[in-house]
Amino acid sequence: MQLPLILRKLFRRRIVLAAAITLVVVVLVSVFAGPLSGLDPSETAVSQRLSYPSVSHWLGTDELGRDLFARIAFGGRYSLTIALLTAVGSIVAGTLFGLIAGFFRRLDAPVSRVVDAMMSFPDILLAIALVGILGPSMLNVVFALVLVYTPRVARVVRASTLVVRELLFVEAARAVGVSTLGILWRHILPNLMSPILVQASFIFAYAILAEAALSFLGVGVPPEIPTWGTMVAGSQQYAHQALWIVLFPGLAIILTALSLQLLGDGIRDLLDPRLRKSM
């Protein structure tokens, strides 16, 4: 199938199209944060603190007079980067462990028990504990979240590997003389792309929420780095005076996470129509 055809099928549902457009806008605003806002996100102006949204400050200013739009735009860079790294990291690690557990029967039990043990912790609690031990930094947040989401991916990949492994073409590939590594890499992995792709989009969404939650709880990214989470966390005590300073970063989180989820749903429905849920 050609790419335009796939996209047309994917976007046949308007809500998936809307989600994709929202994501593109969020990414573009984050990437071109500087030229778009023309302001420094850390430049304080105490005289203009907590000002309403206006022509000079599109979304108003926060408690230190920093431009909220600039901060959300720059914050998007950090939030999206953290989420992207988390998604990539946990997909790579989870796929590796899932393939190993699903393909090599001897390694199934050890890997699966570790995965089960890790999944029995509440996600956010495990992440809090990890960042608490490692110390707050962007990389540590990514590391903690990768550790939290890897078992999730591993479980899905293992289940799919168990199915694909038994298909006749795997045996046929062996009969052609393909090595075990070659069978895993060239014959099994490509057949797992749809569940992996769907997991990637969901984990991207979870990671944005989790980063925000960690930052809000004070165990995430250091407060001087503007992410959507640190913005909500830092401004919460001013919320009753100036609702917008928590509303807008919060909206950014909700819109991005929701769009990612919807896109993930759309991709899953496209790849596996049997799982389609009525929206």
Partner: protein, 337 residues
């Protein structure tokens, strides 16, 4: 010259219910450029035999294999397929010994084009680069008479019919010009007209390349037309082995006789009409469980000619003057007639 000499091959599966002897003491030869067919009903161990020879038994099963499978490769060396180290076995699979399977619908990888899948084997064994392998893949598709091969080579398995896919599987198996082709019920999943085409194709390729074929099937009609030597398996053992003409003309073992009598065309010749109706002959009963084999001959509970001595011990495979052999205590008398 024998391409493959299988000697006393046994395959056991260690299951929770006990040790199951799926293939027991199987010996047969495949002559160079000739076709040996293994015939038997479901569960007789014929597929396990082929998988054992390819060392493709599922790694999940705890299997034990004994015996020898002496294979003469292109260079004239004799190798025991059962004890060869895995890397050397991998170099033989798909290269010297190729295999085609019963289910053409599922034996191709759905996410690659058929050209890429044929090319993979060529790149693996012949060291061709991508472009050369794809060009050779196209020639292979033309060899197996796939129409519009230039277009098909870029298509995915789901775009092909069952017969076309089996042709692709044959092209894939033939890609490295193997000396032995193991065909495990290659036509069972296809409809009859396609079956005939595929069999004709395999014959043509055998005539052109001089490869040997191990043909696993339960279809006696196919055996009669396409095999040179036949081994009949029952409950994991070879019960009769003979050149194809002898086997069909003078079946020795009661099981072989029963199988032939089951064929509608044969029945008219062999079985007289009973109370005015022509009934198709059927071998009564069913295959005994491998967990509780009968004490004597495995076929004894179903055999019309069984005598008391049959219940005492498994008869040995006895060779007669014509070069055939049968595992039945009644055979020597029959052979001396």
């Amino acid at each position: 010259m024998n391409r493959l000499e299988v000697r006393k091959l046994s395959t056991f599966f260690d299951t929770d219910e006990g040790l199951i002897r799926s293939v027991a003491d199987v010996s047969f030869n495949i002559r160079a450029g000739k076709t040996t067919a293994i015939v038997g009903e479901s569960g007789s161990g014929k597929s396990v035999t082929s998988l054992t020879l390819m060392r493709l038994l599922p790694r999940t099963a705890s299997t034990q294999v004994s015996g020898q499978a002496l294979f003469v490769n292109r260079a004239g060396q004799t190798l025991d397929l059962l004890t060869l180290p895995e890397p050397r076995m991998r170099a033989i699979r798909g290269n010297e010994v190729a295999m085609i399977f019963q289910e053409p619908m599922t034996s191709l990888n759905p996410v690659f084009t058929i050209g890429e899948q044929i090319a993979e084997s060529l790149r693996l064994h012949k060291g061709l680069d991508r472009a050369a392998a794809m060009a050779q893949a196209l020639r292979m598709l033309e060899l197996v008479e796939i129409p519009a091969a230039a277009q098909r080579v870029r298509e995915y398995p789901h775009q092909l019919s069952g017969g076309m896919r089996q042709r692709v599987m044959i092209a894939l198996a033939m890609a490295c010009d193997p000396t032995l082709l193991i065909a495990d019920e290659p036509t069972t999943a296809l409809d009859v007209t396609i079956q005939a085409q595929i069999l004709a194709l395999m014959r043509r390729l055998q005539a052109e390349t001089g490869m040997s074929i191990l043909f696993i099937t339960h279809n006696l009609g196919v055996v009669a037309h396409h095999a040179d030597d036949v081994a009949v398996m029952y409950a994991g053992r070879i019960v009769e082995a003979a050149p194809v003409n002898d086997l069909f003309a003078r079946p020795q073992h009661p099981y072989t006789q029963g199988l032939l009598a089951c064929l509608p065309g044969q029945q008219r010749k062999r079985v007289q009409t009973v109370d005015g109706k022509r009934r198709l002959y059927a071998i009564r009963g069913q295959v005994s469980s491998p967990l509780a084999p009968p004490p004597g001959c495995a076929f004894e509970p179903r055999c019309d000619k069984a005598v008391a001595a049959c219940r005492e011990a498994m008869p040995a495979l006895r060779t007669d003057d014509a070069g055939g052999s049968a595992r039945c205590i009644l055979v020597p008398e029959a052979a001396s007639v």
